[in-house]
């Protein structure tokens, strides 16, 4: 064996890859696709829109990157194990021919090096090209006011290279271990043996239900959007694992039950397809689980972003309850200033409106004090303002006068009484101590303030301003050096007038607002374009991700059909010799429909139905509170994706048919 150098081994490795074209072309194609997918997802992290639009987006996208990374690991290990199983015979032969194990390991090393370098490079180039092209196309199609740029950064490229080098290294170790611990005779026979049923499939099945139930449970019980962000990843992870286990154990269970039923099993179509699927049950199950997971991702990505876009007008109204919105931020050192401003401005805007020949149709004015703290027993304990959003209950204290003015009610409160609203409704006591006062509570609905929905919120309507002052005095006593938030005020009003008049009016008020101290003026009309362009950006990302995952689905379905086609080809030839006709081949491929088409789509739909609550919570982060929009786009996307997948399925099953026939 002297003189065997690297050149020899690398030449041999190349020759092996070439002579196993039918195995390696689908393997390389799908590796390239998944690498491209990961890279594109990672590269979105550097996207300006993702970074700047919302603080939740970078988090969600990094979760997405992790999910795709996990998916990549499973996917490549799966395709690799399939390829190497097919090659057992060939590699077993090396042993018989007298090649030492370390030599075989070396050949495998070169093979892995060639395939991994080739697929990583091609995947990156494809990602760069695809990303650019696709962003161009989407910018052209969506015609958003501002284009979204595709950013090429070095970090995502680096992550991609590292991750996939690591994955391919694992496949190498796996492949070598397959041959180091096996004897050559077994290897020679290896390919023809069916897959062994995984041990303890009942336990796997129970485990899958546990994982799925846990994941679904997180979604069903999620209390608020902030915990939705932090728990979303865990839920996704659990459901992914659960899906694999479910498909592996569940499909074996079903197939075996079908096989036991002689009347079903001993019919031409079922006979061929059931036995074929049992023969490669794990491979089959993992393939289906892959499709199912990608389908879920497409549905979630598209339906959420579509909701955000379609719901733009609604969110615009949530964010800007009036055509004109003026917010005042009081100076805690000069509390009387804001009181003055508050009264003056209301009168001023009435006048301004009249000056332009318009009328105020509706005006709301509200002063409120923001407080932060926690509800312990029957007491609201202050914490220092801005001391970590998650732990705190956010409170708004409103004077009765403003509450009555706003709601048109005429409620009276005694000195120890208050109106009370709690966002999650858990505080049901009839009294509350805040500062040094005890209030008897009367519950009210939140029909007045724009609720953010992000954190636990309480609203307390107190008899008059003096209660707010004494409350703040208690806070100062407790935290002499703590930050103090002054009284705030919101004035919102609508006017009569045409769109043009309103716009001119808003421009005028905005100009004036620059001279008002600590104030912010926002006009719904002036914000609209901006709003649509940001929400269009979401849709953009959604379509992008949807397309990405759809391409993934196409490739996996294609890989599955092609590899199984080559697998089944010989079988069909033998069966044709003993009298299988073409029509029956057609029949047997048809009876796969239920598996290949319905199963992944149905399970994916169940997944997303259970994801509904947690996704709803996440959507409130982007201002969506109208469930109807979300439900409709959700149903629409599920149907649309099912249709697309149907086309994919039909085309790839034609490919399968043309291979086996």
């Amino acid at each position: 064996m002297k003189g065997m150098n690297n050149r020899f081994f690398s030449a041999l490795a190349l020759r092996n890859i070439k002579s196993n074209k039918t195995l390696y072309i689908p393997y390389l194609l799908s590796s390239i696709a998944i690498i491209m997918m990961f890279y594109l997802m990672a590269s979105l992290m550097a996207n300006q829109f993702v970074q700047e639009r919302s603080s939740a987006l970078p988090t969600l996208f990094s979760l997405g990157v992790i999910v795709i990374a996990i998916f990549s690991v499973i996917f490549i290990l799966y395709t690799n194990s399939f390829v190497i199983k097919k090659r057992k015979k060939e590699i077993g032969l090396y042993g018989i021919l007298g090649l030492e194990k370390r030599h075989v390991a070396k050949i495998l090393l070169f093979e892995t090096m060639f395939t991994s370098v080739a697929s990583i490079l091609t995947g990156l180039v494809a990602g760069l090209v695809f990303g650019r092209l696709f962003f161009m196309l989407l910018n052209y199609l969506l015609k958003l006011p501002t284009d979204i740029d595709y950013v090429v950064a070095i970090d995502p490229i680096l992550w991609t290279v590292l991750l996939f080098l690591a994955i391919f290294a694992i496949t190498y170790i796996y492949n070598v271990s397959q041959f180091t611990f096996a004897n050559p005779i077994k290897l020679l026979k290896g390919k023809t043996e069916g897959e062994k049923e995984p041990k303890g499939s009942i336990i796997l099945f129970i485990l899958s239900l546990v994982f799925l139930g846990w994941g679904y449970g997180i979604s069903l019980t999620i209390p608020d959007p902030i915990s939705a962000i932090s728990k979303f990843f865990l839920a996704v992870f659990l459901v992914i694992i659960g899906t694999y286990l479910l498909f592996i154990s569940g499909s074996i269970f079903i197939l075996k039950a079908l096989k036991k039923n002689k009347r079903i099993y001993y019919r031409p179509g079922a006979f061929i397809s059931i036995s074929g699927m049992l023969y490669r049950m794990k491979q089959n199950a993992v393939g289906l689980a892959n499709i199912c997971i990608l389908a879920s991702m497409v549905i979630i990505a598209l339906s959420t972003t579509l909701t955000i876009y379609v719901g733009s007008e609604e969110t615009l109204e949530n964010r800007y309850p009036f055509e004109n919105n003026m917010s005042l931020f009081g100076d805690p050192e000069q509390p009387e200033l804001i009181e003055q401003q508050f009264a003056d401005l209301q009168a001023h805007y009435e006048q301004e409106t009249e000056k332009l020949g318009l009328e105020v149709t509706e005006m709301e004015a509200l002063r409120f004090q923001s407080i932060y703290g926690s509800l312990d027993n029957n007491r609201f304990n202050f914490t220092e303002a801005f001391d970590g959003l998650e732990l705190n209950v956010f409170g708004q204290v409103i004077p009765l006068e403003d509450y009555n003015g706003m709601t048109g009610k005429n409620i009276e409160l005694a000195e120890d009484e208050a109106l009370f609203y709690h966002s999650n409704g858990k505080y049901t006591k009839e009294e509350l101590i805040i500062g040094d006062r005890l209030y008897q509570l009367t519950p009210i609905e939140n029909d007045f303030s724009a609720e953010t929905g992000l954190t636990e919120t309480i609203v307390l309507v107190v008899p008059d301003m003096s209660h707010i002052e004494s409350m703040m005095a208690s806070y100062k006593e407790q935290f002499p050096d703590g930050p103090i938030v002054g009284l705030s005020a919101d004035i919102g009003w609508n006017t009569t007038g045409t769109d043009e008049e309103k716009k001119a009016y808003a421009d005028r008020i905005r100009m004036q607002s620059y001279s008002v101290e600590s104030a912010r003026y926002e006009s719904r009309d002036l914000q609209r374009e901006d709003w649509y362009s940001t929400n269009g950006g979401f849709l953009f990302l959604g379509i992008f991700l949807g397309l990405l995952f759809t391409i993934g689905t196409v490739l996996i379905t294609y890989f599955k059909q092609v590899s199984e086609g080559f697998d089944d080809r010989e079988k069909f030839q033998i069966m044709q010799k003993v009298g299988l006709d073409k029509e029956m081949i057609h029949d047997s491929t048809k009876s796969q429909i239920i598996w290949m088409f319905l199963l992944p789509i149905v399970v994916a739909t169940i997944h997303v139905i259970f994801a509904y609550p947690i996704v709803s919570k996440l959507l409130t982060l982007f201002g969506i509170t109208n469930e109807k929009t979300w439900l409709l786009s959700f149903i629409g996307v599920v149907i649309a994706f099912a249709a697309i997948y149907w086309v994919i399925y039909r085309i790839t099953s034609k490919v399968y048919y043309s291979i086996v026939k």
Binding site: F271, Y279, K571, K577, V578
Partner: protein, 255 residues
């Protein structure tokens, strides 16, 4: 009327990308009566498999015709050819052609399943055959779990289960050791004695000696035949060997 009649069969293979032609069969004429056990012998490349494939309707003749029960096979419509193959012919191949994804039982039942036979009927036919062939202990195993001889017996069972008019066997002992070959040939002989017509291709004189008649094929045509008559298997084998020696020395110039 003969069960199987082959008239002026000719087969020319044309290479796909060149004008080069191979004449696998030039003119083949012979017939097989019902209940016969006929062996066809010839060297590798003499056209045996080609002949069998045409009889099996797996391949088309260039000219000439094969008649089964007086009906020309070339007139069978494309749509019916698979059903015809399933119900009328039984096959035994050199490399077994069993399917690894089916248990032994399902492999045997395959042609019946394809013919949509009721399950009761299938099971009723299965047991006597597997018992007869001595493989009833293995019917729940898979092909990769049994020996070559057993595999070939499974293939014979699969051929028998449709109660075919004729069994076509292509080198059935080709992949077996001598003991398994012996065993298989005894089985085929027994089946024949029960009335089953068998046409077998082989280049083993030992295997051929189990049949009642041997046809010799060379350069694409039948040029000699001998009958066993009342001879024992050993005597017949000697005669086959002699024929082969004489004939091959006569044909030496061609090699």
């Amino acid at each position: 009327m003969a069960l199987l009649e082959i008239k002026n069969l000719k087969k020319v293979y044309t290479a796909r990308f060149s004008a080069q032609q191979t004449e696998a069969l030039s003119t083949v004429n012979f017939s097989v009566e019902e209940g016969e056990f006929v062996s066809i012998m010839g060297e590798s490349g003499s056209g045996k498999t080609t002949l069998l494939n045409i009889i099996s309707t797996l391949d088309d003749a260039t000219s000439g015709e094969v008649y089964l029960d007086g009906n020309p096979l070339s007139k069978i419509k494309d749509k019916e050819v698979s059903a015809f193959r399933r119900s009328t012919l039984g096959f035994v191949f050199q490399d077994f052609n069993l399917l690894d994804n089916f248990s032994i039982k399902d492999n045997i039942l395959l042609p019946l399943v394809l013919s949509k036979t009721p399950i009761e009927e299938m099971e009723a036919r299965l047991m006597p055959i597997v018992r007869n062939l001595g493989i009833e202990a293995h019917i729940h195993k898979y092909p990769y779990e049994v020996s070559g001889g057993q595999k070939q017996r499974v293939a014979v069972a699969r051929a028998l289960i449709t109660r075919p008019k004729i069994i076509l066997a292509d080198e059935p002992t080709g992949a077996l050791d001598s003991k398994a070959s012996q065993n298989l040939m005894e089985i085929l002989k027994g089946i024949n004695e029960e009335g089953q017509t068998i046409l077998m291709v082989t280049h083993s004189t030992r295997a051929a000696s189990f049949s009642k008649r041997v046809l010799f094929i060379r350069d694409g045509s039948v040029y000699h035949e001998i009958y066993r008559g009342g001879q024992t298997a050993d005597e017949f084998m000697d005669r086959i060997s002699q024929s082969l020696t004489v004939l091959s020395s006569r044909g030496e110039g061609h090699e």
